[in-house]
């Protein structure tokens, strides 16, 4: 590994690019902005190639800047990171070029471009990071900058989705930080290259497991792991299509990057962790696929598909941990991540094309859009076949590897663990089937159904030349990689395997017979299930004929939404209620205790003193400074004053009737007492509220101290 400070250029370029865009391309200079953005993205791609290609041929770079950010930043470029660097910079280039068409009639384009480049820098930082603090730093940065993508349209739905996105990101980040605290305490280092050994040496395994689970929460939240996937199906439909492609293609993989670190390196001895990842992965896989089948929105379907595919990758990572680094699992998980990025790039950009022309993503509205568009058909088929795991496409290769990994893992475990793995295998096949089903649904909608009114009206040219070119490259790659897996995919996976564990930890043969009967039958079962589900469920239940038109209905019950029915009530109603209640309780407890602590005696003394002072004041004002007061009319007197006054009045009445018949007393004592009492109270209140009260309390404290000192 060679030290190479220029590596930081990969991060500086996008951050500087965002500033350049902000500074020099103000409003009304659209063309300059588009051109600058394209050039910047191309420059980043070229730079990525410049650094990554030598690394892929062997070697690697490291880079450490000690002075920055208190703990120093460190970066590394090895085979795994080089592959991802190329993929992410290529995806950004495609997305940026496509954005020009997509964003043409949108507001706040400049803001969108700025944050696209900021996110590029942050994401590159995550993938290049060589210690967990650097990872965390860029990870958080990425979460915040990508918020703007989701909120870009500023509609109510977008803001709500963005709120969810931010909440999940912040929560995930903080839980991860807690995990980092624990991990740092246990190992004393966060540098990735020493972490595997440091973790192996940790004595407190329970604490390590806790740290791992906390960090899994953070990374999983970004990856879209069940039950933290809620932001994905909401954020994707509202974000601009190129941003969706990047969110789903790259940003979720930043989460996967962390899970790889956890399950392959940090927690590689904790089998419990492997099972956890496996089950969460299986749940994610199935849940996402079911949501995908029910979805009636093009981009939402793709988003659910992303959730599901992330589940496939997580299952692979669970197997990496359980088998201790089996090459099948390692290659499968890595290749599926790569494939999924490219597949989602293609499919989301196509969805963007649809939205550009029709301004709708509703499946009912976009029926038949793809008719008589051969290029559109070809690209869509490449993506769809790849994601459904059709033989001859790259998705088949990675899914076969994952399937083989589960099967081979099942042989390692006996008893209930083996049964669990075979259940996982079936969940895997069914999820694959559902994938085929929802892709078939999309295919029917776009290419077979009768064109809707909206589609008939739209006759414009639908794709510009540069976009065609950029779409053809990843689509072609999906096909080519599927045809020549041993030439293209496996060498890449070999480059990456070191990242999944120390050298030598990855074992086993990585390349099964691709087109053996056994493997083909796996894909066959999946696709069979898919076709069956399509014709039984989708055709019969989710699709209706309404006269000439085909209508897709949302049959998903409204309560079947984790966010709306669990998280939001929990976090927006219950928790604030409880917390605020606790605060109020604490306040009242403090008040009560303060009252009790001051003690009835102390309080009485204080009150007496108050009354004394007030009494003197009243006495003085009543005698020396007496003025003829006008009669005050009282609405109410104190009870005691009233009683005393009544008694006095009765006495006076008695006197008037007996002794003082000739000169009766005319005063009303009720009134006099009431006025006096009120005045005393007012003065007492003034004293109590005044500074002297505080001084008096302080004085009492001092007296107690003095007493102690005298006695001690």
């Amino acid at each position: 590994m060679a030290e190479n400070l220029w590596l930081t250029l990969l991060l500086v370029l996008p951050f500087a690019g965002a500033l350049i865009l902000c500074g020099f391309c103000g409003q009304g200079r659209g063309r300059a902005m588009y051109l600058t953005a394209d050039l910047l993205a191309a420059a980043e791609f070229a730079l990525a190639l410049f650094f990554a290609v030598p690394v892929l041929c062997g070697g690697g770079y490291t880079c450490r800047i000690k002075e920055l950010c208190g703990f120093g930043l460190s970066f590394e470029l090895d085979g795994f990171r080089a592959v991802w660097l190329i993929i992410l910079s290529f995806m950004w280039l495609t997305a940026v070029v496509f954005s020009k068409e997509y964003m043409e009639h949108h507001r706040h384009v400049l803001r969108y471009y700025c944050f696209t480049f900021l996110t590029l820098g942050a994401t590159a930082g995550v993938f290049l990071s060589a210690d967990l603090l650097t990872t965390f730093l860029f990870f958080e940065l990425m979460s915040f900058t990508s918020y703007v993508w989701v909120a870009q349209e500023e509609t109510k739905g977008a803001l709500r989705a963005a709120e969810t996105y931010l909440a999940v990101a912040v929560l995930g980040g903080l839980v991860m930080l807690m995990g980092l605290f624990l991990l740092y305490h246990l190992t004393g280092t966060l540098a990735l290259d020493g972490l595997r050994e440091a973790c192996a040496a940790v004595q407190e395994r329970g604490m390590l497991l806790a740290a791992g689970i906390l960090m899994l929460f953070g990374f999983g939240a970004k990856a879209g792991m069940f039950p933290l996937h809620i932001w994905l199906p909401k954020a994707h439909p509202v974000a601009p299509a190129p941003a969706s492609a990047l969110l789903s293609g790259v940003l979720t993989k930043a989460g996967i990057f962390g899970v790889i670190l956890l399950s392959g390196n940090i927690m590689h001895q904790e089998k419990e962790f492997g099972w956890l990842v496996l089950f969460l992965g299986a749940a994610t896989m199935l849940h996402g696929a079911v949501l995908g089948v029910f979805s009636v929105d093009l981009k939402r379907t793709l988003a659910c598909s992303s959730v599901s595919q992330i589940g496939f990758i997580l299952v692979g990572l669970g197997m990496v941990n359980l088998t201790g680094g089996n090459a099948l699992a390692v290659n499968g998980a890595f290749l599926h991540a790569v494939n999924h990025s490219l597949i989602k790039l293609v499919l989301f950009l196509l969805a963007g094309v649809v939205y550009c022309r029709l301004h709708s993503l509703d499946l009912t509205q976009i029926c038949g859009f793809g008719r008589k568009k051969p290029f559109f058909l070809a690209v869509f088929l490449c993506g769809a076949f790849a994601v459904a795991g059709m033989p001859l496409f790259s998705g088949y290769i990675s899914k076969t590897l994952l399937h083989e990994a589960i099967v081979e893992g099942g042989e390692l475990f006996a008893g209930s663990a083996g049964v669990l793995l075979s259940v996982t295998e079936w969940v895997f096949l069914v999820s694959g089937g559902l994938t085929a089903a929802y892709m078939l649904k999309l295919f029917t909608v776009l290419f077979l159904d009768e064109p809707s009114e909206r589609v008939k009206k739209c006759t414009r040219n639908y794709l510009s030349m540069p976009v065609r070119l950029l779409l053809a490259v990843p689509a072609g790659f999906l096909l080519l990689a599927g045809l020549l897996p041993d030439r293209i995919l496996l060498p890449a996976a070999e480059q990456a395997s070191a990242f999944f564990g120390a050298a030598g930890a990855v074992h086993g043969a990585g390349a099964p017979h691709w087109f053996s009967m056994e493997n083909l039958s796996g894909a066959g079962i999946s696709i069979g299930i898919g076709i069956f589900v399509y014709f039984t469920v989708v055709r019969q239940w989710l699709r209706k004929r309404d006269g000439q038109e085909t209508v897709y209905v949302n049959r998903l019950p409204a309560w079947y939404d984790l966010e709306e029915s669990v998280y939001r009530p929990l976090f927006l109603r219950l928790l604030p209620f409880l917390l605020a209640g606790a605060c109020r309780l604490a306040e009242s407890v403090v008040e009560k205790t303060a009252w009790f602590l001051s003690g009835p005696l102390l309080a009485a003394v204080c009150r007496l003193a108050d009354k004394l002072v007030a009494g003197i004041v009243w006495l003085i004002s009543g005698t020396m400074l007496s003025e003829k007061k006008p009669r005050e009319h009282l609405h109410g007197a104190g009870r005691i004053a009233y009683c005393a006054g009544r008694v006095m009045d009765d006495l006076v009445l008695l006197l008037n009737r007996t002794v003082r018949r000739k000169r009766p007393i005319q005063k009303s004592f009720v009134h006099i007492f009431a006025v006096g009492g009120r005045r005393t109270r007012r003065t007492a209140g003034l004293v109590a509220r005044s500074v002297s009260y505080g001084l008096m309390l302080a004085g009492i404290g001092l007296v107690i101290t003095m007493l102690y000192l005298l006695l001690g």
Binding site: K66, E67, L68, C69, G70, F71, G72, L133, F136, L137, E140, L141, F144, A151, E154, T155, K156, L159, A162, E163, L166, V170, L171, L174, V175, L177, M178, F181, L182, Y184, H185, P576, L579, A580, A582, C583, A586, V590, A594, R689, S690, V691, Y693, G694, L695, L697, A698, G699, G701, L702, T705, L709
Partner: protein, 494 residues
């Protein structure tokens, strides 16, 4: 060079502030120039003293026996002194524009300048007696500032502030007496002053007294049961809330707690005892309490005040961990939070000043009208949340790792509290930011219900905000030298 020069940064502003009403300035401008010159000169003096600090103690006057007023600059004093010296001239600059529309501004600036000297006195105090003296003075000198408006709420807030502070000082005084009676010396000594045999058998008593003293000083640091004066004091003019109730006054409380923990009572006596657990627990509760109340508070300035309550306890929590790492974390947060919070209050003040808006719910789309202010709020807000690599993150990281390393129950609870509080911080900061930057489509823009149509303020407000925001960012990016210096302070080497 004379040793008396250490008096200068303390006496000069007090004197010039007290004399201010005597000069009959012909215009506000002349008065402003005078105030700015005095504060700038004091800052220069204070910073110069830090770089040329005298090695021996300087006894100003001897009251009786060991009760001497003594000045000495050590590591902790350097941190606090430098912090306020950087902030004060900017704060004065900001105050000029803000106070233009207020009355009695001469009296205001008089006390404002005097407070600078008193706060420096706390920073450079060499023994408990001197610190206590300046601490009491601080209450008196800032009271007119809180009550400046002289409206009903302002006077009520002033009384509350007074009652709380004096009551707290009485508690602190108990701690003071015990150090005087049982300690070897009144002077601040790293590691504590209870070395002699006289202490034997009275350890638990001393620990209990320490808790009382922390609670006493904790009144200014707004520890939970004694916090109520701070949100009420948000009624004061913004330069006061920003500088005094986010930095000078409240940080004096936190500073005093660090002082008595590490330099008077000493970690040897307290570590692992019930006293430490009580203080840690109270700090953790305050951290949560402040954040929860901030989330539910619709009034922007009061929201920030609650946030201050929460963040001050980060410092107290770090200090109460009683490890060098904890102390470093506490001091880092002392510095980081000062810059962040002062910017946030300036933004709230600028909004109030230019648009008259006080409640967050009215601030839809403010970002378009006041882009500069919103940008500053954004940067400082991220710092407060602790987004890496902002300064808030560095201090949180230090406090968190120190807490986990300390490992006792209240410490771990406190770390969890810090993280939950960070989440809540994100909620209340983004609650404002999202409203300001992404108004809902049907949301209304802020109307000109205030005195003027909302727009960015003039350079006198902008300059302090810009410089201090830049500081927020720079402290985060280049935390290494600061962190190294603080490590040496926390190990007692400076």
């Amino acid at each position: 060079m004379s040793k008396y020069i250490i008096l200068l940064p303390i006496v000069f502003p007090i004197l010039m502030g007290a004399l201010l009403p005597l000069f009959r300035f012909r215009s506000r401008k002349a008065r402003n120039i005078y105030v700015e010159l005095v504060t700038a000169l004091t800052s220069i003096l204070a910073v110069w003293m830090i770089f040329h600090r005298p090695s021996e103690d300087f006894i100003v006057l001897n009251l009786a026996g060991e009760l001497a007023v003594m000045l000495h600059i050590d590591g902790l004093g350097m941190v606090f002194g430098a912090l306020i010296s950087v902030l004060w001239p900017f704060a004065a600059l900001y105050a000029f524009e803000y106070m233009e529309r207020e009355e009695k501004d001469n009296a205001f600036f008089s006390f404002y300048t005097m407070t600078f000297g008193v706060t420096l006195g706390i920073a450079y105090a060499g023994n408990l007696m001197t610190m206590y003296m300046f601490y009491e003075l601080l209450t008196l000198v800032t009271l007119p500032l809180v009550m400046h408006g002289m409206g009903k709420t302002a006077v009520a807030a002033g009384k509350k502030y007074m009652t709380y502070s004096i009551g707290g000082a009485a508690f602190a005084f108990i701690g003071f007496i015990f150090v005087y009676r049982l300690g070897d010396t009144m002077n601040f000594t790293f590691g504590g002053v209870f070395g002699s045999a006289a202490v034997a058998g009275k350890e638990n008593l001393l620990r209990a007294v320490y808790v009382l003293a922390v609670l006493g000083f904790g009144v200014k640091a707004a520890i939970f049961p004694f916090h109520a004066w701070l949100p009420s004091a948000a009624v004061a003019p913004t330069p006061v809330t920003a500088l005094l109730h986010a930095v000078a006054v409240v940080k004096s409380g936190a500073f005093a707690i660090i002082r008595i923990t590490y330099y008077s009572y000493g970690t040897g006596l307290l570590e692992g005892s019930f006293a430490q657990k009580i203080v840690l627990g109270l700090a953790a509760v305050t951290i949560l309490y402040g954040s929860v109340r901030a989330v539910r508070e619709p009034h922007l300035k009061r929201r920030l005040a609650y946030s201050t309550i929460s963040n001050l306890s980060y410092i107290v929590f770090g200090a109460a961990l009683m490890t060098p790492a904890g102390m470093r974390g506490g001091m880092l947060h002392l510095a980081a939070h000062a810059f962040v919070k002062i910017v946030l209050f300036y933004c709230a003040g600028a909004i109030l000043h230019r648009s008259g808006l006080e409640y967050v719910r009215d601030m839809d789309g403010l970002g378009k009208k006041m882009p500069f202010v919103t940008a500053c709020f954004f940067a400082a807000g991220l710092g407060l949340i602790g987004l890496p690599p902002m300064s808030g993150f560095i201090s949180k990281w230090n406090i968190g790792t120190a807490g986990i390393a300390q490992g006792s129950g209240p410490a771990v609870f406190g770390v969890i509290a810090v993280l939950i509080s960070a989440l809540l911080t994100a909620v209340y900061i983004f609650g404002f930011l999202i409203r300001a930057c992404f108004p809902a489509a049907d949301g209304k823009l802020p109307d000109a219900s205030g005195r003027t149509a909302p727009s960015d303020p003039s350079w006198r407000m902008k300059l302090p905000m810009a410089v201090l925001t830049a500081m927020v960012l720079l402290i985060g990016f280049f935390a290494e030298p600061i962190s190294e210096f603080l490590t040496r302070v926390a190990n007692g080497q400076i």
